[in-house]
Symmetry: C2
Subunit: 217 residues, 2 copies
């Protein structure tokens, strides 16, 4: 086995060097469960014409955490204090952990943000009322936000899936990390709390693209 392992390591090293513009790594953002609301739902949950109250900017430009929280209710249980993220979106979307699904009693697919067809609904309780959505609950697909310039530097394309290496006591590799490219995005890898905990990561951790499946560009 020994020679083969040395060769494997060599190839991993080569791939890392090729795929990585520098040694700084990609910043990590760890997402807890949260909800994006449409203005229609905001009206029902917090009062007609209510405007979300920003308490903290998030790393992606224009996105922010709000003072508002909601309770989400499934057939088996509820989860309180689910943070609302702003601004309002065209469609309401609830992003939960896999572990939350057991507590709520619903089966939730892993999806990219915005891909809510054939996803379960849930009951949402706000400060002034409640609403039952018929779809919109997802477990977030891990992904990396980046600008077109970053995508060029990393030699990746929007929608491509890459592998990322996580260096820690609980380290390893996550596969199926979706690249999302937009001039509005800042370079950042998004994992959920369970993914970060499983790899022993915190908000100061960096991730490294080690392989991509693209054709030569």
């Amino acid at each position: 086995m020994k020679n083969q392992e040395a060769l494997l390591q060599l190839f991993i090293d080569i791939l890392e060097k090729e795929a990585k513009p520098d040694d700084a790594g990609i910043p990590l953002g760890i997402s807890n469960r949260h909800i994006h609301l449409s203005q229609n739902e905001i009206d029902k949950l917090f009062g007609k014409g209510h405007q979300l109250t920003k308490i903290k900017d998030l790393s992606q430009p224009g996105q922010y955490a709000c003072k508002e929280t909601v309770t989400i209710c499934g057939p088996r249980g509820v989860i309180e204090k689910v943070r609302v993220l702003g601004p309002a979106r065209p469609a309401t979307q609830v992003e939960v952990m896999t572990g939350d699904c057991f507590k709520l009693g619903i089966s939730v697919p892993v999806r990219q943000s915005g891909e809510i067809s054939d996803t379960p609904g849930i009951t949402i309780i706000g400060a002034t009322g409640s609403v039952e959505i018929d779809r919109g609950v997802i477990v977030a697909q891990r992904h990396i936000h980046m600008s077109p310039e970053d995508a060029h530097a990393y030699k990746v394309r929007d929608g491509e899936r890459v592998m990322i290496k996580l260096a820690s006591e609980r380290g390893g590799i996550f596969d199926n990390v979706v690249i999302r490219v937009s001039s509005k995005f800042r370079l950042e890898c998004h994992l959920d709390v369970e993914e970060a905990n499983a790899m022993g990561l915190n908000s100061k951790s960096k991730v490294y693209i080690i392989k991509n499946n693209q054709e030569e560009m």
Copy 2:
């Protein structure tokens, strides 16, 4: 990149074939938070001379889930209904998820079972009393139980760390998986709930050793 990736895949395939006696994979056991108690603690929590009540055998021979549960209390919060696993052990040990540490308000190291020096303590509440242990809370190091015969077949040694491949929609590789060999063990990989969720695994999933760091045997 293309040729290098093809070569990398080739080497992974070779290593998989070498390290894997057959294609069936290693069964997965997913551990939720739980506690092992010494008879001294059982006496304090459930009454002098109390005997644990088995409700279900676990996959490792002689180990079982008990009817008894406890509440564990940290400086920031409590977690109820923590399952007691039997039989009684020489030292009490609490195994929690990384996510539990935030709720409890304690910092917990990743450790192998039994390695509880320099670990935090916690307050435990049972049916008839409570006890404060000064150490014994760990996050379980991921590991694979196997018999000496399995170890021979997989070409691994007790205490060795290997990588495992997880094939799923959220797949990837976990590094630093400790091999634990005993004639009392049945072949099974143990991950905690957060690790399983991060990789989209369930109790029917299989794991595959893809690399080991040993010298030639």
